[in-house]
């Protein structure tokens, strides 16, 4: 039996994880000297409700390698003969590396997959893998399905406020031209494990046509999802425009969880997609 494992930073919605039998390993959200288990001790709602009132800006930490070993072994005891462990970009997080170390000590063969992505974009790949597993695809078929789709996967988000990104220290401020006295809202792209700025706008309203253009360029889609951080009304506005553009396409709205929300802050909106190629 093949089991799919992912980390909580992939932001696979709970009901889908349950339906598709995906095992989620939670990352940690650290606030000051407190550490919370993502999705268990700290729900999305709690996180965004408190984000502006946290005494210190939260940070994220990968699960310990030992946790991965325990979970892999647990799954083996439950009958897993092969595990495919799918994770957010190695280039942007320590989670993949913790899983790799954990896998070496496991009693079951584990194939690690670096999605080169974060949050829902990584989640879409996890879901593709889990659906293939449910449909009886072989280990090799699932791994090659992932490897084929990883380069076609994108995450785009308009960052509403640069404070969180500044404090996360994940981007080169000068290179991205963020040192402006006038506040800007960048539209950022994650592709192949790298962060890029594709556009700069001043208002949320202006971000929407940009996002539509970007989507046009990437269609047709295997999967596409509107994403946001604690900003459902704006996501719904974008969604209303986008469903008109792609009739017949299933386009859910998903919220980015605390692991990535810590870095991009509330008020972000965008999309994650896997293009058909």
């Amino acid at each position: 039996m093949i089991k799919i494992v992912a980390d909580s930073a992939c932001d696979v919605p709970e009901d889908m994880a349950e339906k598709l039998g995906i095992t989620i390993v939670p990352v940690f959200i650290n606030v000051g000297d407190q550490s919370y288990v993502d999705g268990i001790e700290m729900s999305r709602k709690m996180f965004y409700d408190q984000l502006s009132s946290f005494p210190q800006h939260p940070s994220t930490a990968a699960p310990p390698a030992g946790t991965f070993t325990e979970i892999y072994n647990q799954l083996a005891q439950e009958g897993a003969t092969q595990i495919i462990s799918v994770h957010i970009a190695d280039a942007l997080s320590n989670t993949y590396n913790a899983a790799r170390v954990g896998a070496e000590a496991a009693d079951v063969p584990v194939t690690l997959v670096d999605t080169d992505q974060v949050t829902v974009a990584a989640g879409l790949l996890v879901i593709l893998a889990a659906e293939a597993a449910q449909n009886g695809r072989s280990h090799d078929e699932i791994v090659s399905l992932l490897n084929k789709n990883i380069p076609n996967t994108r995450f785009f988000g308009m960052i509403n406020n640069l404070d969180a990104l500044r404090r996360s220290g994940r981007v080169n401020w000068a290179q991205f031209g963020f040192g402006t006295l006038l506040q800007i809202k960048p539209i950022m792209m994650i592709a192949d494990g790298a962060i890029e700025v594709v556009a700069r706008v001043r208002t949320q309203k202006k971000a929407i046509p940009h996002v539509q253009e970007l989507m046009k360029g990437l269609a047709p889609f295997e999967r596409v999802v509107i994403v946001h951080t604690d900003s459902l009304p704006l996501a719904e506005r974008l969604h209303a425009k986008v469903v008109e553009m792609f009739p017949g396409q299933d386009i859910p709205i998903m919220e980015v969880g605390p692991a990535v929300g810590t870095h991009i802050g509330a008020g972000a909106v965008g999309f994650a997609s896997v293009s058909k190629r």
Binding site: G177, T180, L181, L182, R202
Partner: protein
């Protein structure tokens, strides 16, 4: 015998049928003298009761420089004198009226190019060229302006049948006055304000001066001191903040000679200094260069002819004075590399200069409503950009033509993004991609500029009724996207009335740029009052540092 005084018209023969270079020089000198006397009157013809580009001042500054270029020339060749005069005008052209005027002179020079002397016939043909050149210099010619005056005057001049130049100039003057009187019928805004067109008036004064001199009636007058953009302390000279300048001396001069090699001069100046601007032709070259040793460019150039109008400035000393008195947080201008785009921005205040630099502007020119920069100021800034791809943001509707003219004179790849207000300029900067392709980036910046609304608050400079708004001198007046729409006596109320003309439900951010004379307290008070009116709007506050305008608002 009195020589070289403006009232001396003895160089005109009794029967005057051919005009030579020296006679033309005196005609120009007389035109300048008359404008010196009348430019303030021309300024007052500004139909808008706002402090903005003064037509009379701009025309006068343009003409002074033009005359400066021929002042010492003894040439009797009318084509040479006209060409040198036109070139001088072009470099100094400021404001839309200055640029149009410089094009009139350029057309005239084109018409007289080959001629030693000009008959009434040739003069008439040259004036037709002057008129068409003037029309071509604006993308959207408006009738009832200086354009109509030069066109109808040129038509009369060309139709003139006799060979008497005295009568010819009299015809020209009379026609220019007649057309000028018609301008309020052609342009309703003039009629509403009860004035004739200011640029047209300026042009008619030039013809008046010429005819007065011909008739021996011209009085000599003393030139007045005028502020210019170049005299402001914030003038950009590509200076690093702090530290020593590599080439501390700014050297400018004119070189007169024969068979001068402009390209060779430019190569030599590039070799010994930087920020080089070398323009001209075989008989006159204008040089601007920053060097270590100010003697070097001069001793090189003097081998080829006569040097005149030498200006040497110590920028190191100037810079230390500016840095010493600076209150703004220092932000380095962006130094473009390789194929990157460098942006030249015209700004009316220190605060705006800092904001533009923080957004990767490479060169800042101090200038705005009442002190429009010249073509040369903008050309110098373009040449000071460290790469070949340049975008110019005029940020003022009265600087658009100057920027266009400067961009055409540069050898670099230059695009002017026609921003008419400061918020438009900054909206354009938001989407600047310094690594982008020039044309495409300019198109994107133009689109971004068009997406923002601008509100401006200033004081009325005179009493007028315009577009149904009754304005008393000294009133607080509000402009929305350049149009006067509100007058009142309280700033918050005026701003509120401006904003009420916009669908604020569609807006997210108001950026408030406060003027030079606004206190921090006044700005905070205004912010709190406006925030109470518009609770869903995000406010961003900056010091613009502009003169005359209490507040400039960007609404998006």
């Amino acid at each position: 015998m009195i020589q070289n005084t403006i009232e001396d018209n003895s160089i005109i023969p009794n029967l005057w049928t051919l005009c030579d270079g020296q006679q033309l020089k005196h005609l120009f000198k007389a035109a300048l003298a008359t404008l010196e006397k009348q430019y303030e009157y021309v300024n007052q013809l500004n139909v808008f009761p706002i402090p903005d580009g003064d037509t009379g001042t701009n025309m006068l500054l343009t003409l002074r420089k033009a005359y400066g270029a021929i002042q010492h020339s003894e040439s009797a060749h009318i084509g040479q004198i006209a060409a040198q005069f036109a070139r001088g005008a072009l470099m100094e052209a400021r404001g839309n009226s200055g640029v149009i005027l410089s094009q009139i002179f350029q057309g005239l020079a084109d018409g007289l190019q080959e001629a030693e002397t000009a008959s009434t016939q040739l003069m008439g043909d040259a004036m037709m060229l002057a008129s068409s050149k003037a029309y071509k210099s604006v993308s959207d010619p408006t009738e009832g302006t200086i354009l109509t005056v030069i066109r109808e005057t040129a038509v009369s001049a060309e139709a003139y049948q006799g060979n008497d130049l005295r009568a010819f100039f009299e015809t020209v003057l009379q026609q220019s006055k007649q057309t000028l009187a018609k301008t309020p019928e052609l342009l309703p805004i003039l009629k509403e304000s009860g004035v004739v067109d200011s640029g047209g008036q300026g042009l008619a004064y030039l013809f008046q001066g010429m005819v007065d001199w011909i008739n021996g009636k011209l009085q000599p007058i003393e030139p007045v001191d005028l502020p210019t953009a170049a005299s402001l302390p914030a003038q950009a000279h590509a200076v690093p903040e702090g530290g020593q300048l590599e080439n501390p001396y700014d050297v400018q001069f004119l070189l007169f000679g024969e068979n001068l090699d402009v390209d060779a001069m430019r190569r030599k100046m590039d070799e010994i200094g930087d920020s080089t601007v070398v323009v001209g032709d075989a008989s006159l070259i204008k040089v601007h260069v920053h060097v270590k040793n100010p003697g070097e460019p001069l001793s090189y150039a003097v081998q080829f002819g006569q040097i005149d109008d030498v200006v040497v400035e110590n920028m190191q000393a100037q810079m230390e004075a500016i840095v010493g008195g600076a209150t703004e947080t220092a932000v380095d201008a962006f130094e473009a590399q390789d194929d990157q785009i460098g942006v030249v921005a015209v700004v009316p205040g220190d605060g705006f200069a800092t904001i533009f630099k923080s957004m990767r502007a490479s060169q800042i020119i101090a200038g705005g409503q009442t002190n429009n920069p010249s073509v040369e100021d903008i050309l110098n800034a373009i040449e000071s950009v460290t790469t070949n791809n340049v975008i110019v943001l005029p940020n003022n509707k009265n600087i658009l033509l100057t920027a266009e003219t400067a961009s055409q004179m540069s050898q670099k790849k230059v695009k002017v993004v026609p921003t008419k207000t400061m918020p438009q300029g900054l909206s354009a900067m938001v989407v600047l991609e310094v690594d982008g392709e020039l044309e495409q980036t300019a198109v994107m910046m133009k689109a971004a500029a068009e997406e923002i609304m601008t509100a401006e608050v200033t004081r009325a400079t005179r009493t007028v009724e315009l577009d149904g708004v009754a304005v008393q001198e000294g009133d607080i007046i509000g402009l929305l996207n350049g149009r006067l729409t509100v007058a009142g006596d309280e700033i918050t109320a005026v701003i509120k009335q401006l904003l009420d003309q916009i669908d604020m439900d569609e807006m997210e951010i108001i950026t408030l740029y406060s003027g030079h004379d606004v206190t921090a307290e006044a700005k905070q008070n205004l912010h709190h009052q406006l925030q109470a009116f518009y609770p869903d709007i995000e406010f961003e506050l900056h010091d613009g540092g502009q003169q005359h305008y209490d507040y400039i608002l960007g609404i998006e």
